[in-house]
């Protein structure tokens, strides 16, 4: 960039808030609905002050009824509004499953293109915040099987702004997953101006030659940190932050594997049938003869929930050291 455009340093949660605010200012068809988004200003204070500025018709406090939140949003979207529905925690999204999978994702197809469903469903997900059983889940694998639904998992403030703008602009439903551990942990420069980042485009956060690591969300940061640590040991790891899990940036992954010949996938969601399973299958189909080692997936355990006790949570989550260890083993394989 020749001229540095004006920018602000903000956290991930501030990036969500400021992007939503700009969207409401920019387009009076944009509305926000969800539990505690109005007077309470959202549990993370993302929408604090919005109801005063934009009024209760655009900032809608809903009952604790997730199916209704998404169902109403589907109707709004079909009739020309730009609803941004919030599920307070991803752990509560299950009642809305039918509305998301059975309605939102199928609207365009069912109506032969007459109706589309331009809506965003935002929800905080992920663990590492002592959220225990009902404030820790990763839900991407439950939804990424569904054609017609886009799923975005940005990890940085800049990506949040660019991808949230793209999601709001998108003519079809987008599930927008925000890792809550990164909310106040990750801080970076965000351009003031309006911009979008294409949904389905990954970001290579570090180039390397000996191993490709694919991750997203909180672990995009930790895997990058681990890869940087390995640099001191002269091990060269390429790190890809997926940013979107569907559509998935297949070319970014395949090009990288063609270069490094080794692939490690790291995600917080449990392994069985997770996003890593799809990536493994895709690479095995498209680039088997590039592989110089078995594909490995480093994922959280296949157990029903994360424990509340700190040792249990730590045992469940993947430490940066474990990531580095796994990367080392793969480079040396």
């Amino acid at each position: 960039m020749a001229v540095a455009s004006p920018s602000k340093v903000m956290t991930n949660v501030e990036a969500v808030r400021s992007t939503l605010y700009d969207a409401l200012k920019r387009d009076d068809k944009a509305v926000i609905l969800g539990e505690d988004v109005g007077n309470r200003g959202n549990v993370f204070l993302i929408t604090k002050g919005f109801i005063e500025e934009f009024g209760p018709e655009r900032i809608i406090d809903t009952p604790i009824a997730e199916a209704s939140i998404v169902g109403i949003a589907v109707g709004m979207a079909m009739e020309g509004l730009r609803p941004i529905a919030e599920i307070q925690f991803a752990d509560f999204i299950y009642p809305a499953f039918n509305q998301i999978v059975g309605e939102a994702a199928k609207t365009r197809y069912r109506s032969n293109g007459e109706y589309t469903c331009p809506m965003v469903i935002r929800t905080p997900y992920g663990g590492g915040v002592r959220g225990a059983l009902s404030h820790s889940v990763s839900v991407e694998a439950l939804f990424y099987h569904v054609p017609g639904l886009k799923i975005v998992v940005p990890s940085t403030p800049r990506d949040i702004k660019g991808l949230l703008n793209a999601a709001i602009e998108d003519p079809d439903p987008v599930l927008f997953l925000e890792h809550k551990r990164t909310y106040r942990l990750i801080k970076d420069d965000v351009p003031d101006e309006y911009f979008t980042i294409p949904i389905g485009k990954a970001n290579i956060t570090q180039e390397g030659t000996q191993l490709t690591v694919v991750s997203y969300g909180l672990y995009a940061h930790q895997s990058l940190e681990a890869a940087r640590k390995l640099q001191d040991e002269n091990l060269s790891v390429e790190v890809i932050d997926l940013r979107s899990v569907r559509p998935m940036d297949r070319n970014a992954i395949l090009d990288s594997v063609r270069k490094t010949h080794k692939l490690l996938i790291i995600h917080e969601d449990n392994k069985f049938g997770g996003v890593g399973a799809e990536i493994s299958a895709m690479v095995a189909e498209e680039a088997l003869f590039e592989l110089d080692a078995p594909i490995r997936r480093l994922c959280c355990p296949d157990v029903p929930a994360m424990g509340y006790a700190l040792p249990l949570e730590e045992e469940y989550m993947i430490s940066t050291d474990r990531m580095a260890e796994e990367m080392r083993a793969m480079v040396r394989f």
Binding site: H261, F289, F333
Partner: protein, 438 residues
């Protein structure tokens, strides 16, 4: 399951080999890739690795006996081979045959091209290189990428030394072997032995009281040496250079360099760079004596003297002054690889304007080289030695020191220019490192 081992073909024109020494006796066990016999030919002595793990069952050829390539020389009883080995043996034999066909001449090729002689043999390329394939057995455990790359680059995986876990051959190993060419790939396993101190084997097997006939290469070397020594009055000078910082720089860069570029990073490219810069300050060192006068060369083409078992070649880095240290390292690495494989083209041996001789590798401390005809000088890098040195402030420090020797054509330059050139070269070398960009 017994595996029959045949006399390998150590070079494309070699048709027979002599069992110089059995390194294993019948009944002894042998590991796959372990050397079990030393074979000598008129070109090279090589230790031959066992293709399988097992026990030596039978030695079919006596020491000192010469047999045609492909002749069975030993039988190894393979261990740990289940029923599948019965199937794999014919394949392994086929692979063995292919492997032999793929072997390129090893260093010491007596008809390799000689320093800028136009009579140099054109490199004869192994069109059969494409036949190198990996046997079924060697593919076991090879990753899909290794299989594909080995196929594409005609490399037999069984011949490679693996750098991966438990000696696994990695994709990088195959790529590195591909960069070095098929002969080098073989060379990793069948290592050509260094020339013995008594000079045996570099000229066949010299028998006291007999005359070794001159081959073409030896004739040309002899002729050019005499001519240079007769026509150019040689003068000689030496400086001692502190390369401590340069050594540190090179040491820090070398591992990454070989990984990124597949060539090792020696002191040579740094030295050539310093020589080029010193030539820039003293262009008369890049000149030649003619009957019409002293012709000062426009181009700076640096010859690198490379000693092989039976001869000497001096390939040339053209327009070396346009190259960075990294560029010089790559160019020199390429030429050295080619020289060792006997693959230098005539054009790569001609046009030198100044010559550098890395003489210190075997510990030489000072030498008086003969100038490459038609040039003003030749400079050597002698061994880097740690020495106690008196520093400027009269303290004693341990420093890495290297002698640099210059032979000059006294018709072209006098001591004044030559010593100025050497002093300049010394200053530049001592200013290199401990940090910098290659």
């Amino acid at each position: 399951m017994p595996t029959t081992i045949t006399m390998p073909q150590l070079g494309e024109t070699v048709t027979e080999g002599t069992v110089a020494q059995w390194l294993k006796k019948p009944g002894e066990s042998v590991e796959k890739y372990e050397a079990f016999v030393e074979v000598s030919t008129d070109k090279v002595n090589a230790e031959v690795p066992a293709p399988v793990t097992g026990t030596i069952k039978e030695l079919l050829v006596k020491e000192g006996e010469t047999v045609a390539t492909g002749t069975p020389i030993a039988v190894i009883e393979e261990v740990g081979a289940a029923a599948s080995s019965a199937r794999s043996t014919p394949a392994a034999e086929k692979a063995e045959a292919n492997k032999q066909a793929s072997q390129e001449p090893v260093p010491g090729k007596s008809d390799a091209p000689v320093a800028p002689a136009p009579a140099a043999t054109a490199p004869s390329n192994g069109s059969h290189a494409g036949q190198a394939v990996s046997s079924e057995a060697s593919l076991r455990g090879a990753s899909p990428a290794v299989r594909r790359l080995a196929r594409e680059h005609h490399i037999d995986i069984a011949q490679l030394k693996g750098s991966g876990q438990n000696g696994r051959v990695t994709a990088d190993d195959v790529l590195a072997a591909a960069r070095m060419g098929p002969a080098a790939a073989v060379g990793q396993a069948i290592s050509a032995k260094p020339i013995p101190a008594d000079g045996k084997s570099s000229y066949g097997d010299p028998i006291p009281g007999t005359t070794i006939p001159l081959n073409q290469a030896r004739k040309i070397i002899a002729q050019r040496m005499v001519e240079s020594k007769r026509t150019a009055p040689h003068a000689w000078s030496m400086v001692e250079v502190d390369v401590t910082d340069l050594w540190k720089w090179r040491t820090r860069e070398k591992d990454r360099f070989v990984r990124d570029h597949g060539h090792s990073l020696t002191l040579l490219p740094f030295f050539i760079r310093a020589v080029i810069e010193a030539i820039g300050a003293f262009p008369l060192m890049n000149a030649k004596f003619t009957d019409e006068g002293i012709y000062v060369n426009k181009e700076v083409n640096i010859g690198i003297a490379i000693g092989l078992a039976t001869n000497l070649v001096v390939p040339v880095i053209k327009n070396a002054d346009k190259l960075s240290i990294k560029g010089l390292a790559l160019a020199a690495g390429e030429l050295i690889d080619k020289a060792r494989r006997g693959k230098l083209g005539v054009d790569e041996l001609a046009g030198g304007t100044f010559t550098v001789n890395n003489n210190g590798a075997n510990g030489s401390y000072a030498s008086a080289p003969i100038i490459n005809g038609g040039q003003a000088g030749i400079v050597t890098m002698e061994a880097v030695v740690k020495k106690p040195v008196v520093t400027k402030d009269d303290a004693i420090a341990i420093r890495s020191m290297m002698n640099v020797c210059l032979s000059l054509d006294h018709r072209v330059v006098d001591g004044y220019v030559a010593s100025g050139f050497l002093a300049d070269l010394k200053k530049r070398l001592e200013a290199m490192g401990p940090d910098g960009a290659l």
